[in-house]
Amino acid sequence: MNGDRIGVRRVNRPMRRFTPTQIGLTIAGILILAFVLWTAASTRRDNPDRLAGGNDSAASRPADPAKRCASQSTYDHIKRDLFRRAAALRGSDQAAFDKIASYSVVRVDQPLLDSEDETTGAVACSGSLILDLPPGVAVVGGRRSLTGDIGYTLQRSADGHGEVLTLTRADGIITPLATLARVGQPASDPLASAQTDPLAPAQIEPSSAAQIDPGPAVTAPPPPSTAAVQPRTQATARPSFNCANARTRGEIAVCGDSGLAALDRQMAAQYNAALRSADPGTRAELHRSRNRFLGYRDQCPSDACIADTYRGRIREIRDISSGRLR
């Protein structure tokens, strides 16, 4: 019997290794480990500078050469370089050009990967670039949107952080951009006169550093009164919607400004593309956020505010589509 009892004790001994304290400690350890892993993954995913700043590390940089040609980081690089070279061509106003660059929007239609050097990792790309300038500034002819075919190469930097971009064919953008000047007409002036007399002094002021400062014109135009909000260039501003049906303050402002109209078209194109490839959950989020965006836009007191709201919406659509905001 003793032998049997001893034998029973031996069989039951392993069951006693997991005391309630031990089990509790084990669960706590697993939870802490899961939290640490989740935090690390979340930080890496949500760092906006990785996308916008152009200094994405080798780990987060798209490995696909075609994606490198078409990434937002690349477009931001292109924009900065265009303004830098335009300021160099002009020979002055670098600070003002940098400031205007931050308010401008660059996109590339049909970016193509032309070639890839597998040895160095360099890629050569090309596409049709559209540069939309912010309200308050324009180039020769009163234009606020420039288009042109460009070529660009991307080469990983020597220190392994970020990419070095070289524009190989961009004079069609840089040359007119170097004539950038503050638009001098009051908001109520019809831009139609600019089309018949594109270089009238009243439209483009002399290109001195003092006069190009876009600060007040870009960032804080006077709040429009209800009576003053009239389409200024309804004949030429073509947003994604029919301006004959424009009713809200935001819609009327967009119909009256070709730059805002261009932003609206860009946003609408991105929105429709996102909807086409979205799963039901993403689609619902896109719809919900759309109503919120329209509400913000229509409360804006100025064109600059509307432009910023559009740029924010463009980023938001991109983030929802990529799963970052869900």
Binding site: L89, V140, G141, L146, T175
Partner: protein
Amino acid sequence: MSEAVLETRDLRRSFTQGSVTIDVLRGVNLAVRPGEIVALLGPSGSGKSTLLQAIGLLEGGFDGSIRITGQEASALDDNGRTALRRDALGFVYQFHHLLPDFDALENVVLPLIIHGTEPAEARERASALLTRLGLGDRLDHRPSKLSGGEQQRVAVARALANRPPLVLADEPTGNLDEHTADIVFAEFIELVRSEGSAALVATHNERIAAKMDRVFRLHEGVLE
């Protein structure tokens, strides 16, 4: 004697393809005086365009000295070369390279505005130049609405707009039929002289070269 607007000394340029190195320019020495119109004559592949690229400060990778209006280009940084190009040089290419979204007047106004000319004055100057070249009724036409000869006239007006000390022209009438080429080239020469500029004109056409003040013959990367 006034200082040369352009002077090169021992200008060299090589290209490497795989294990093969090709010496395109092998020590070019030349000088162009103010107001002088000089032909750079040579067959295709002789290095004319490479030499103009170097003198135009459009590419790096050259050895030797390039002095433009007395300034040594190799001593300048990127911004300095851009400024020298903007202030001292005008360019006419075989293909017009006009900006398609801008009309004839605007294409000529662009370099004037960049140079710091007041908009009204720039417009007046551009209009006068184009009218002188027979395009007074084409000012608001975009390049796509102009004939080849008219496009090249706009390009000539653009190159001369800022009265640069030196105009570089690479086969400026090479894309035109012979009759139109003769007319446009005569207008080009007349305009360069009347504006007081100098010009270095690359061509493979002996007949056109004979119309200029001097002829440099480029053969296998050296001047003969």
